[in-house]
Symmetry: C2
Amino acid sequence: MRSHYCGQLNKSLAGQTVELCGWVNRRRDLGGLIFIDMRDREGIVQVVVDPDMAQAHEVASQLRNEFCIKLTGEVRVRPDSQVNKDMTTGEVEVICKDLEIINRADVLPLDFNQTNTEEQRLKYRYLDLRRPEMSDRIKLRAKASSYVRRFLDDNGFLDIETPVLTKATPEGARDYLVPSRVQKGSFYALPQSPQLFKQLLMMSGFDRYYQIVKCFRDEDLRADRQPEFTQIDIETSFMSADQVRAKTEEMVHGMWKDLLNVDLGQFPTMPFSEAIRRFGSDKPDLRNPLELVDVADILKDVEFKVFAGPANDEKGRVAVIRVPGGAKLTRKQIDGYAEFVGIYGAKGLAWMKVNDRAAGMEGIQSPVAKFLNEEVINGILERTGAESGDIILFGADKANVVAEAMGALRLKVGIDLEITDLSAWKPLWVVDFPMFEEDGEGNLHAMHHPFTSPLGITAQQLKENPAAANSNAYDMVINGYEVGGGSVRIHNAEMQAAVFDILGIDAQEQQLKFGFLLEALKYGTPPHAGLAFGLDRLVMLLCGTENIRDVIAFPKTTTASCLLTDAPSLANPAALEELAIAVKVAKKDSE
Amino acid sequence: MRSHYCGQLNKSLAGQTVELCGWVNRRRDLGGLIFIDMRDREGIVQVVVDPDMAQAHEVASQLRNEFCIKLTGEVRVRPDSQVNKDMTTGEVEVICKDLEIINRADVLPLDFNQTNTEEQRLKYRYLDLRRPEMSDRIKLRAKASSYVRRFLDDNGFLDIETPVLTKATPEGARDYLVPSRVQKGSFYALPQSPQLFKQLLMMSGFDRYYQIVKCFRDEDLRADRQPEFTQIDIETSFMSADQVRAKTEEMVHGMWKDLLNVDLGQFPTMPFSEAIRRFGSDKPDLRNPLELVDVADILKDVEFKVFAGPANDEKGRVAVIRVPGGAKLTRKQIDGYAEFVGIYGAKGLAWMKVNDRAAGMEGIQSPVAKFLNEEVINGILERTGAESGDIILFGADKANVVAEAMGALRLKVGIDLEITDLSAWKPLWVVDFPMFEEDGEGNLHAMHHPFTSPLGITAQQLKENPAAANSNAYDMVINGYEVGGGSVRIHNAEMQAAVFDILGIDAQEQQLKFGFLLEALKYGTPPHAGLAFGLDRLVMLLCGTENIRDVIAFPKTTTASCLLTDAPSLANPAALEELAIAVKVAKKDSE
């Protein structure tokens, strides 16, 4: 029905007759001349309806915002004085010859010129998606998917679909369950990832697999989580961790180049331990130059127990952050930061302003200075390279509390004081993760997942000292977001059984849950490794938004509801009867 | 770890050293020389291990089938006498220099040289997929998906994901339900198709949408159905039915050309009524030249009630199929066909052999000839163009029974007598479907779905005579398989409400189930139309298999079980508690 998209019109089409279909973005009536800003998915163009075109003018006078219309007109170059530099089509306009209303619109429940509540926007999602800001994100997402597929296709990866109705797997989060009608009392689980299936595909010899696939986690949702999310899932055989990283880095590098014309450069590699030490996080935002600096050795002999305690505790840590220009922070701001680190379990926030580095102790302003002698203070100043006008912020506690609190504080201060370069792109690989985490009660949990291979040791060595083992896992981090993670997998049954043993999964449970995997490992399993990217997160970064709902066409709220369709909803009792399940009376408390 | 895939080796690499990774397909020990057929995803190559290479020979002597190995060797052109024309790599072999066992294999539970039960194959799917016949199908599927995506990307279609956790919709089949933990007592439904979401995307102005997406139907399964299946889902705005058909025909045409190097030609278009009349089916297999020929007018005055009854009944039909060369059918074969049509409700199968067309009534052999006079018989012979050696098979019953029974018989006879050209490709479009079907109790049901636009009439006209209305729907049929179907959708609220009324969906139910759609139709909805292809079926056709499980990596059985992972399975009682649902004691009968 159309010859061009509105957004495609330009000077080269001057004099041509075009047919357009789209929506009335705005209508203005200027002394007889009617101007229509007409919108379709590619953009907006100005249409002029002259009173001389009586029929078209009569129709145009009925138009209201968001009417769906079709028109025929001639492209005309605007006089220089009327060129609109804010519109991509601003050099031209369309002189309307014929105009037809395809469908009328009531007054919209959303006002595109104002800020609407997110609840309203989600309820009328189909209208919110008409806003160019929103539709551009969905279009960029489509381009990102398309880029990824072409890259992987061209690199010999096979797109293979894995089941959605599957068996519960132990990714750590809760599964969504689906009752079976045929086998009453039994349930499918929606996959948290296609992990085991992709490993089985390697055992089948497919060599290079990928899938862009929905995964599901029934978790309590945070701002950047959705119950269903999309993974770029990749697995390869006979490739080392280095090779997998190089290939997937090439892919992400190409995405940024292709979609944003940004060169991400080569991604540095950083061991997990270094990331925690320098940035207090396993997904450091390297746009922020602030670092944690360890000073336990300097403070271990002071009498001030707040510092000396953790400094002398094997599980403790004392670290400072030097904030250039931070001496200008007010007492109120510092109190705010003290409260902030409290969220992460820190009991307070000691600080030291360096008002005048040349003035010695006179130039130091700090509530804790009186507990420290000059040598100690000089030691800290020297190690951090502090200069006049800086502030030094102290973290002293259990090592994990210091890392989390100071890591978060680093990010916050970096943004607040405009130290973080928000226009930069800082990707990196984090590697050499510990194989297991201790849960505080002496139990070990897999840090990645139980199919991850340890790095450079035998099953016997792993059993002897599991806590010391590193895994051959890797995360890709961009600007502080973990956008992807993966590992070399275990490809022999003995190692797999050793890991299950360490995790306290007994033989019976191993058989019940992973019998097919242990069986499969017996038949010439190739070495294999892979990785999964969070597509939603990648697209968030590409779009420059921090709201995951902005990059999903029909997202759910933090209570996992769809405000548009009103899902979830009550089920038909007959359907439940057929499934042989009953709803138990809901408890008052949300439990 | 490899320099080449086994299947890629050819004469151009002669003299080169290659590194290969893969599996032992077969090992033969011929007087010291060990021959290994080594396999990877691209094919098989012969490796020769000479006793002179002592280390490699020692390793090679340990090899058993399906060991995973890595080797270095030199490509050598085979002497002419030893070229193996059955292998794509049969002109070369690899002289092994170095050989390493990566992983050993127990004796396989499947024997690749024998036929295994499908149950065994599904349980050890990862091994069954190692068979080139199987892996080729999965690879062809990946190529088909990739082709479709490139075509649609290049034609301006946007890949947009729609939710999996959604609200029950009325596609006709049972929904899979997913209990919500957050909103206890409420359920999501897995989508039977993204129908309403794709329509909403058109209302948002995305103009051209596609998605290759899993859909779900909790139906009793037949051989060619799976509980989860994959749809190529397409929707467009401002395009006519003709344009949608032309564009998607171009896509399928390109798939066959690209993947099979087959030119499907231009697809003919056939009205539903013609398809039923000539072939007794709305998905006619045009590889089969047999047709149903109506003869009610000839038979309406005969005394034989079996014919005259339906011939004079408005809802009856009398049709024959002339089978060239069918006079050779034995009595037993004909009895078999009579039994076969009984499955479709036919009460018998009258037949007439034309042993000698020149001999008049003498040349006719038929149990029913005695009930018919010469004029009637000649009328039938003339209309069908029967010749000596043919048989004429009769269907006389309610019109739908005749269509189903004779339509099925046509297919069966076509195969049995090798009349159907199994090497041919016969695509077509079936169009002009009735808008509604009557269920025998006076209720009308949507033949396509309730969002389908009627063809060329107003809402008022539709209400006045719904049974007479045709819809603007279309199916793509290839070789008797419905591979895709779609329609122009309703884009105004009045028409949509009229259809809901006719279907007996009252205002309250409309609001509850489709309130958001009716609301959305108020805001300048564009005309839109779309289509969905069954990817599994398309790939079945491309692969030349009739078993849908052959084209799915991890399929389910007809009881919707995964024999590999043993899904569905019992749920953790704590998980059910959290979901506030209880399993009711399973009844003895499967109900």
